[in-house]
């Protein structure tokens, strides 16, 4: 279960879960006691056939009223105190570990991730080093979205305009953690997914170096694909950027290192030749409302572009 909040893999998700556990078990106790009384009363005081006696007409009992006003208040106080403690802890990353700044921008329907201190720009797959805390600053390019990696941290909304929000989190172990937009954002809200890929510091550093390298120089069929990509009749370049080429569009994800990612179309597909071809053939058929139109590409063009894109390591 890749988005299970009950299987936390980072400090924030774990703190939240331990708070939820406390609330859950207190709720279980209240549930058992109150529902027990209810079910007991139903069976104990059920009218038997032929029973016409009038029960005692009790109107109330003030000490009881006081008791069952105070009892819930006490239970809630027990929940409120650690709640407020956890609110404080989640507000800012605590000291003790290095902090990696990440800037997240939500788009209909994909995620842009920037690591400003490291000069890295990528999409839909955020790499983070284990052993550091991530401090994410969030904003939206169009409408409200919500950033959520259930196994690492709770949600934080992304707003358009000048308002930014922030959320810190970390991962205990290297691994892939799935995330998904959690605020309804139009037709393909269901397809606005992403991954957080936690790596050892060494692997992370290697990834950063690879991302900062210039785009691969295409050869053979891939070179034909590069030409198609910037061909005015194919329009790819109007929305996508590939560093070092004339493709400098900003509408869709930056594809400079497309083939370094495991998925495409915001987590909709694994990055295989076949899936890329399906996507290029008719994006709207698999992702309703997608800003990427059906470009009317021929099968040959599609195969050529797939070769090029798969070469963008």
């Amino acid at each position: 279960m890749p988005q299970n909040t009950l299987a936390p893999a980072g400090e924030v998700a774990r703190d939240i879960l331990s708070l939820f556990r406390l609330i859950f078990w207190m709720a279980v106790v209240v549930f058992v006691v109150v529902q027990g009384l209810l079910v007991y009363a139903i069976f104990r005081f059920r009218r038997k056939p032929g029973d016409t006696a009038m029960p005692a007409q009790v109107h109330g009992n003030t000490p009881l009223e006081v008791a069952w006003t105070i009892a819930p208040a006490v239970i809630l106080a027990v929940i409120a105190v650690p709640t407020i403690g956890t609110i404080g802890k989640l507000a800012e990353p605590p000291d003790g570990k290095p902090v990696v700044q990440v800037s997240v921008t939500g788009h209909q329907w994909w995620w842009e991730f920037q690591l400003p201190e490291l000069g890295v720009l990528t999409a839909n797959e955020l790499h983070i080093p284990v052993g550091s805390r991530v401090n994410a600053t969030l904003k939206s390019a169009d409408i409200i979205h919500s950033f959520w990696v259930p196994r690492l941290s709770g949600k934080s909304d992304l707003f358009p305009g000048s308002r930014t929000t922030s959320r810190w989190f970390d991962a205990d172990q290297p691994g892939e953690y799935q995330g998904q937009c959690a605020e309804f954002c139009g037709a393909s809200h269901a397809h606005m997914k992403f991954r957080v890929i936690a790596q050892t510091q060494a692997d992370f550093d290697a990834w950063v170096r690879a991302q900062k390298a210039p785009a691969a120089t295409p050869t053979g069929r891939a070179a034909d694909g590069a030409a198609l990509f910037t061909n005015p009749s194919k329009l790819c370049y109007t929305c996508h950027t590939i560093d070092g080429t004339t493709a400098q569009g900003k509408v869709g994800p930056n594809l400079t290192h497309f083939a370094s990612r495991g998925t495409l179309a915001a987590g909709l597909f694994e990055r295989t030749d076949e899936n890329i071809a399906t996507w290029l053939r008719d994006p709207l058929a698999v992702k309703p409302g997608s800003k990427m139109p059906n470009l009317g590409l021929s099968d040959t063009d599609i195969q050529t572009l797939v070769t090029y894109l798969q070469a963008l390591k």
Binding site: A41, A53, E183
Partner: protein
């Protein structure tokens, strides 16, 4: 002039279609509300079934993404504004005057207006289905998804205009009931002798009066953004999307109590009647309801914990939200106290009332878990919340309303709903509801977001989603059993008589169905549970097995044609129709004409004209 004079002669026919269209009788209006709202409730149920069918398994394609967005938006709007609220209003209409010993509401024609405006508003809200797409931005309609750039279809226009029109209906009805309850109680019925249902109607009406203006402000801002290019929520023009969230939830959270308090009132009537005991701790039940009404205004931002309000605001709204659980708990304990030591008659109304208590407890407990902001960061916008709201609003409000339907149906029709079919109805709904909604807690915590039209397999959500869908179908069968029960019992049901449940309140003192004028003589009230006291004496029948006195509240029912009752009127439906035209004209801007250099449109102008003629005719209408 001749035609106006003809119209101004008030309609007199007591039967036929026109009698219903022109009626100002609170009982008939109650029945109109009931039938209309139940029809909308069935439509909302169909929308839910379509969604559950789509989500039955991974990668399903029963409906498209766009249709799914319309389904969840319209399901919520329909159930809240066209189902639960007007079903509650149906009981307010039918029962309030009977329980307070009055012959009608304070403003009978205004009451008719509320109904017709509600009907037209409901139609307006649904017109999108037939004109290129219903509203599709969620019932909460978060800005700036609602700007025309992102939601170009007329669906959102119908949302704005539909809710504004429905607001007129709610405000008129709420003011009518506040004034009725304050002014028209029978002699001797002090506030603290009012049945709890009356108290909850009063609190709900005050909530409506204060909540609807807030959403109206937001809706007008949205209307101006969509039609006149203002920038309230347009970020590029300096607008603020968070402002909508505050306006919406300052309305939206009291709205939750608008949905649940009437059901709590119904349950507070049914439990004592079927326990043969007075309500335990009456003043505490009443005051906890009033306290909920006040505290409901201080918790709205708990819908916004993920927006980054900051730790102080999070902590404050967390604590206020937890505090509101205290008066809610007090109510539940007092209902348990009512059962305790009673003689519980487990007839269908009682089953639904007990089901309400059982299910509402679950909804209340899950509610506490997202009153804690950190926990809410994981639960917000997941199926865990969907589970919570359905335990509160289906297990709560709808079960309460069904308790009321079974309880008061005999008063409305003089027929008892069939008991055996009723029990089948209850168990199907109870089992179906738990199967549908309990697993949602689980796959919500496993990370399934709300409002996604599809999901891949491998997320661990498939199996429980199938269980939910099966549960949903069982629930739907339960509802159909109810519909069958109504139709068959209307024809063949046992005759109920005036007082089939050994009732405690005044409506059981008069014939079923009540005569046009309700009470031949206005009763004099000497205590709480006024009718019970008449039957069993001031000692409340301690030890008695049969009523000591003949009921006297109704007096004699022979030949009461001399009781003056308000005459029917054409004008409420005329004014309502004008309002519909006004709203339609705004949506379509049909045939714009220039008037004094400003663009006006004919349809809206016609609507305004009809409204003015209607109000004029209304105000000079002769007494029949």
């Amino acid at each position: 002039m001749a035609t106006i004079a003809a119209v101004l002669r008030r309609p007199t026919s007591p039967t036929g279609v026109w009698a219903w269209i022109t009626t100002v009788d609170h009982k008939r209006i109650g029945v109109l509300y009931l039938v209309t709202a139940f029809t909308f409730f069935l439509i909302g149920g169909l929308e839910a079934m379509a969604m559950r069918t789509q989500l039955m398994r991974a990668d399903n394609s029963v409906v498209s993404a766009s249709v799914f967005s319309q389904l969840f938006t319209m399901h919520a709007l329909t159930m809240i504004f066209l189902g639960v609220m007007p079903l509650s209003a149906a009981f307010f209409n039918f029962i309030v005057p009977l329980q307070i010993g009055a012959r009608d509401v304070a403003f009978p024609r205004l009451n008719a207006l509320s109904y017709w405006v509600f009907l037209f508003g409901g139609i307006l809200l649904n017109l999108g289905w037939f004109t290129g797409g219903a509203a599709d931005a969620g019932w909460f309609a978060y800005a700036n998804l609602t700007e025309r750039t992102y939601t170009p279809s007329h669906g959102m226009d119908f949302y704005v205009l539909g809710l504004l029109v429905l607001g007129v209906s709610s405000l008129a009805a709420a003011l009518n009931f506040i004034i009725t309850i304050i002014n028209l109680r029978a002699p001797g019925m002090t506030l603290m002798r009012m049945p709890v249902f009356i108290w909850m109607t009063l609190v709900t009406s005050f909530l409506l009066v204060f909540a609807f203006p807030v959403i109206t402000v937001g809706l007008f801002q949205l209307l101006f953004d969509r039609f006149f290019g203002t920038n309230f929520f347009n970020v590029a023009g300096g607008g603020d999307v968070i402002m909508w969230q505050h306006l919406f939830w300052v309305f939206g959270h009291p709205e939750v109590y608008i949905l649940i308090l009437p059901a709590m009132g119904i349950v507070s009537e049914v439990l004592p009647a079927f326990s043969r005991k007075p309500l335990f701790g009456y003043p505490f039940v009443v005051f906890s309801g009033v306290v909920i009404g006040f505290m409901g205004w201080g918790v709205w931002a708990h819908h916004m914990f993920t927006t980054g309000m900051g730790p102080v605001a999070d902590a404050v709204f967390s604590v206020t939200t937890m505090l509101i659980a205290v008066p809610t708990g007090v109510k539940i304990f007092n209902w348990l106290g009512t059962l305790w030591g009673g003689s519980l008659d487990l007839k269908t109304p009682m089953l639904f009332a007990l089901g309400f208590v059982f299910l509402f407890i679950i909804g209340g407990l899950s509610g506490v878990s997202h009153a804690s902001p950190p926990a809410d960061l994981q639960q917000q916008d997941t199926y865990y919340i969907v589970a919570h709201i359905h335990y509160v609003l289906f297990g709560g409000s709808i079960f309460g309303i069904f308790a009321g339907l079974y309880y008061w149906f005999p008063k409305m029709t003089n027929r008892l709903l069939n008991e055996g079919v009723g029990k089948l109805n209850f168990w199907l709904m109870f089992i179906g509801m738990n199967m549908a909604f309990a697993p949602m807690h689980w796959y919500g915590l496993q990370g399934m977001p709300r409002r996604i039209y599809t999901y891949p397999s491998g997320m661990g959500w498939d199996g429980w989603n199938l269980v939910s869908t099966i549960g949903g179908y069982i629930l739907a069968v339960g509802i159909l059993v109810f519909v069958y029960n109504v139709f068959s019992s209307l024809r063949r049901g046992r005759v109920a008589g005036d007082d089939p449940w050994d009732g405690r309140t005044l409506e059981w003192a008069i014939p079923s169905p009540p005569p046009h004028y309700n009470f031949a003589e206005i009763p004099v009230v000497h205590g709480r549970d006024a009718f019970w006291e008449q039957k069993y004496g001031a000692g409340h029948g301690e030890g008695a097995q049969t009523p000591m006195h003949r009921p006297v509240a109704g007096g004699s029912y022979e030949a009461h044609a001399d009781i003056h009752m308000p005459s029917p009127s054409y004008w409420p439906i005329v004014v309502s129709f004008g309002l519909l035209l006004l709203a339609l004209g705004v949506v379509y801007g049909l045939a714009p004409v220039m008037l004094l250099g400003l663009p006006f449109n004919v349809t809206s102008l016609l609507g305004v004209g009809i409204i003015f003629i209607g109000i004029y005719g209304w105000s000079i209408e002769p007494v029949a």
